[in-house]
Chain length 254, copies 2
Amino acid sequence: MKDYKAWCFDLDGTVYRGESPIAEAVELIGWLRKEGNRVFFVTNNSALTPSRQADKLERMGIVASPEEIMTSSLATAGFLLEQHGRMDVEMIGEEGLREALEGAGHRIVTEGGEAVVVGIDRQIGYERLASACLSVSAGARFIATNGDRAFPTERGFVPGNGAFAGLIESTTGVRPTVIGKPEVHMLAEISSRHDLRKEEMILVGDNYETDIRAGLRFGIDTLHVDTGVTRTADLAGFNEQPTYQLSTLADWPF
Amino acid sequence: MKDYKAWCFDLDGTVYRGESPIAEAVELIGWLRKEGNRVFFVTNNSALTPSRQADKLERMGIVASPEEIMTSSLATAGFLLEQHGRMDVEMIGEEGLREALEGAGHRIVTEGGEAVVVGIDRQIGYERLASACLSVSAGARFIATNGDRAFPTERGFVPGNGAFAGLIESTTGVRPTVIGKPEVHMLAEISSRHDLRKEEMILVGDNYETDIRAGLRFGIDTLHVDTGVTRTADLAGFNEQPTYQLSTLADWPF
């Protein structure tokens, strides 16, 4: 097995399930740190700030610093800054998106935005969506932090921000640019922020359609683990295969 | 020209535009009433009750009684009653839908509905949508009062209830049954409520995709008028043609 310098872990289904840590992941991460590797956490979740996400990991016994957390919100803020500079942004989203946008120097506005950014927002209302549609129709840059149409809760699947971005798309006829996995923006942001070459990086995830595809598209090695969404048996149905396939992360030879 | 007994008029683009009556329509409707014809108004709008819709018409100088107004909400309530009997209904919608459902004997519930009915709701919030998705995933009958993805306001196009039904569809993977035009349910409801045969009815509308298609599908004569969405010049692009094409309703030989 290759010796990677930077391990990029997906979270839900890879490192934890809901509020419960996956023991094999916790062990591997501990060992990787002891061996002097960099560890990153790469999440489509746009709602949590890196520091709250790190707190959540700590509560499960996983040491993590906010600098190691890459969210779709951070990548969105960075993408807009790089492509357009500081912008007036109409935001549908929660604390994690607000902090990321403001941290990158963007200004949050409630109408007439130069960009409309859609993350998950459990306080969403009609007026917010209507205003976003009007701005997108008027030419605002339209971004979805990620494309997930639904996400699992203890009650079942509820609408993800991809479903709200889809609503705006169906009202306006404009497709959003998607930032989260399976797109490569978060991995690119880690690579550039931490000066890492692609051959030094590996992406670890449970979901072929988001995690593994993101790694394949970015051109880094990938490790699929059978603890979440995609079953190992189903990998054969995909054209491109991950570099490694493991039942659990205990099977990594450490 | 044939002598029709029941004239079914679309509203926006046919009888009025926004808050302004279309004079030629007002005149024709007055003449039809004087000649002893029945007049009905057939609207995808699910938000207004028949009595508020009649008030709106009266304010524009168009005499109308609530019994002459057929809304997608009334047809939805009737459809559910006919297909399933009285139901516990989770409703996304406004006054017009609530009154129609309760008037048909359905019970409005906030979760665990046997049916999920989606009309326009400008007070919509995340929790309402999440609950609707959970119920639809659990097998509730999923109905959209109409499929309109966007509707025009003085500010521009804002999300219609079809966009919200689409959000629930994309979260759950379940397609809604659509009641409003171009489906035939409202015309069928008028026909059965008022004991009218198809050859006695004519549908008058400006929008080929909703109005004219509804009439064609129901199998009644149709009159397209060039005062709204579809231009007369564009009718040639459609396979099936309306029975009559007029620039304005003043061209009807009355």
